[in-house]
C-alpha cells in the first residue's frame, strides 16, 4: 500500500504522544484553576473540584478533560443543569485554544495509535 517505513510512522506517533502529553501536563498544572475561574456558575466544575482536588497533577488532568468535553459539547450539561451555557460561550478564546489544542491532539493521536497498531503494525 505504501513505501513508508512503519517504523517511521511509529516514531512520529510515539514522539508526538510524548510531546503532547508533556504539554498537556504543563497546561493542566498551570492553567486548571484559570479555566475553572472562567466558569464560576457551572455546577460540574464544583463537583470535579470536590472529587479530584486531592489527586494532584493527575486530578488537574481529569478536571481539564471534563471542562474540555463540556466546551466541546455544551448541550451535555444543559439538560441536567450542570453547566451554564452562557458562561461556556463567554469562555476566553485564548484559554479555549490552550485547552482544546492539546486535548484535541490527544484524541487525534489516540485514533492514529489505534489505527496504526490495529491496521499497519499487526
Amino acid at each position: 500500500m505504501t513505501d513508508v517505513d512503519p517504523g517511521l510512522i511509529a516514531t512520529i506517533i510515539t514522539l508526538s504522544i510524548v510531546i503532547t502529553m508533556c504539554i498537556t501536563f504543563y497546561i493542566a498544572h498551570a492553567y486548571t484553576e484559570k479555566f475553572e475561574r472562567c466558569l464560576p456558575s457551572c455546577v460540574f466544575v464544583e463537583h470535579n473540584k470536590m472529587a479530584f482536588s486531592n489527586a494532584g497533577l493527575l486530578g488537574k488532568l481529569m478536571r481539564c478533560s471534563m471542562i474540555y468535553f463540556y466546551l466541546w459539547v455544551p448541550g451535555l450539561g444543559k439538560k441536567r443543569g450542570l453547566a451554564d451555557n452562557a458562561e461556556i460561550r463567554r469562555f476566553p478564546a485564548k484559554l479555549k485554544y490552550l485547552l482544546t489544542i492539546p486535548w484535541t491532539a490527544q484524541i487525534i493521536l489516540l485514533i492514529a495509535l489505534v489505527l496504526f497498531t490495529q491496521l499497519i503494525a499487526s
Binding site: 517504523g7 511509529a10 510515539t14 514522539l15 504522544i17 455546577v43 481529569m62 478533560s65
Partner: protein, 324 residues
C-alpha cells in the same frame, strides 16, 4: 548450562526454615548466605526475593550480583511500604500488579477516591472489632443476640462495600466470603478469640490502601524495572549488537508504553466521566469517581499496550537508522 535462579518467598518464615526447604547442595549452599545477605538470619517476609546461586562455580557471577541488587531493592521497598508483617501484600500482589501495570496513570488520576473506598472498608472492619470488644465486656445472652444482629448488619455493609465494582482494586473481591477473608469460622468464632485476626487484616487493608494511593508511581516503577531486566538479560546472554538493539527497543517501548498509558488514561477517564453524566449518574460523588477510575484504567491499559507496540517499532527503526 547451570545458572543463577531466584524466586519470590511465598510466606513469612524464618531464614533457616527457608534455607532448609530449598534443599541446596554444593556451591549453591556455600554461597546462599552471601547472596541473600538482605534477609540472612532474620524473618523473611512474603514477597522477598530469594536467590539460589549458580552451582557450577564457587565465585559470584555478574548475574548473581545483579539479582542481589534487585533483591536488596525489593527488600527496601517492602520495608518502606510496611508490607513485611503479613502475607497480604503477596496474596494480593498479582491483582495489585495487574491493576497498576499500564493502568497506573489512569487509576493514579483518581487514587484519592480509591483510597477513600478502601478506608471505608477499613472503618467497617474496625466497627466489627469494636462491637466484638464491647460484647466481650458484657457477656449476657440478650447482649449476645444484640451482638449477632449488629454484627450481621455490619457484615452486610461490608459485603456491599466489597461487591462494589471498585473493590476489584482493593484486592479483596477474589477472596470469597467475608468469613474466609477475615479468617474466622462461625462455630469457633465466639469461643476461641479468633477475632484477634481482625487486627492483622485491618492493617493489611490499610497497607493496600497505602500502596494503591501511590499507584501511579508504583506502576511506573514496575514498568521501569521490567525493562531494565530485559535489557540486562540481552546484554549478558547475547552479543554486543543485541544489547544495543535491546536498549533501543526496550527503552523506546517503555517510552511508548508510558506515553500511550497516559494518553489512554486521560482520554478514557474523561470519556467515561462524560458517558456517566449522559447516563444520569450523579456527578461529584463516588459514582462519578468510579466512572473515572474504570475509564482511566481501561484507557490506560489499552493505550499502554498500543503505546508499547508503537514504541518497540520506533526503537527498532531508530536502531536500524543508527547502526552502521
Amino acid at each position: 548450562m547451570a545458572e543463577v535462579k531466584s524466586f519470590i518467598n511465598s510466606r513469612t518464615q524464618t531464614f533457616e526454615t527457608l534455607k532448609a526447604n530449598i534443599g541446596l547442595s554444593g556451591n549453591s549452599k556455600a554461597k546462599f548466605n552471601v547472596l541473600n545477605s538482605h534477609i540472612a538470619g532474620s524473618v523473611v517476609s512474603a514477597g522477598e526475593l530469594v536467590i539460589v546461586g549458580d552451582p557450577s562455580t564457587p565465585s559470584c557471577t555478574s548475574q548473581e550480583a545483579y539479582l542481589m541488587a534487585k533483591a536488596s531493592q525489593v527488600h527496601t521497598d517492602l520495608l518502606s511500604n510496611g508490607a513485611g508483617g503479613d502475607d497480604f501484600f503477596l496474596d494480593n500482589f498479582e491483582l495489585l500488579q495487574s491493576l497498576l501495570f499500564h493502568a497506573s496513570t489512569g487509576v493514579g488520576a483518581v487514587t484519592d477516591g480509591w483510597n477513600k473506598h478502601l478506608n471505608a472498608i477499613k472503618v467497617t472492619l474496625d466497627d466489627i472489632e469494636i462491637l466484638h470488644r464491647e460484647h466481650l465486656g458484657s457477656g449476657s445472652m440478650v447482649e449476645r443476640d444484640t451482638f449477632y444482629a449488629k454484627r450481621t448488619a455490619l457484615f452486610l455493609k461490608l459485603d456491599k462495600q466489597l461487591s462494589n465494582m471498585a473493590s476489584y482494586g482493593s484486592g479483596l473481591r477474589n477472596e470469597g466470603s467475608i468469613k474466609k477473608l477475615l479468617g474466622i469460622s462461625t462455630s469457633s468464632y465466639m469461643h476461641t478469640g479468633e477475632i484477634s485476626g481482625y487486627a492483622d487484616k485491618v492493617s493489611g487493608v490499610a497497607r493496600a490502601a497505602n500502596l494503591v494511593k501511590r499507584g501511579a508511581y508504583i506502576g511506573t516503577a514496575l514498568d521501569v524495572a521490567s525493562t531494565g531486566l530485559s535489557i540486562h538479560k540481552a546484554c549478558t546472554t547475547g552479543r554486543e549488537d543485541e544489547c544495543r538493539k535491546a536498549k533501543y527497543v526496550e527503552g523506546s517501548s517503555l517510552v511508548g508504553g508510558l506515553g500511550g498509558g497516559a494518553l489512554g488514561g486521560t482520554i478514557g477517564s474523561g470519556v467515561a466521566g462524560i458517558i456517566c453524566v449522559a447516563m444520569s449518574v450523579p456527578t461529584g460523588g463516588a459514582a462519578a469517581l468510579a466512572c473515572a477510575v474504570i475509564g482511566g484504567a481501561v484507557g490506560g491499559v489499552a493505550g499502554g499496550a498500543m503505546g508499547t507496540k508503537s514504541g518497540e517499532m520506533m526503537g527498532d527503526y531508530l536502531y536500524r537508522q543508527t547502526s552502521p
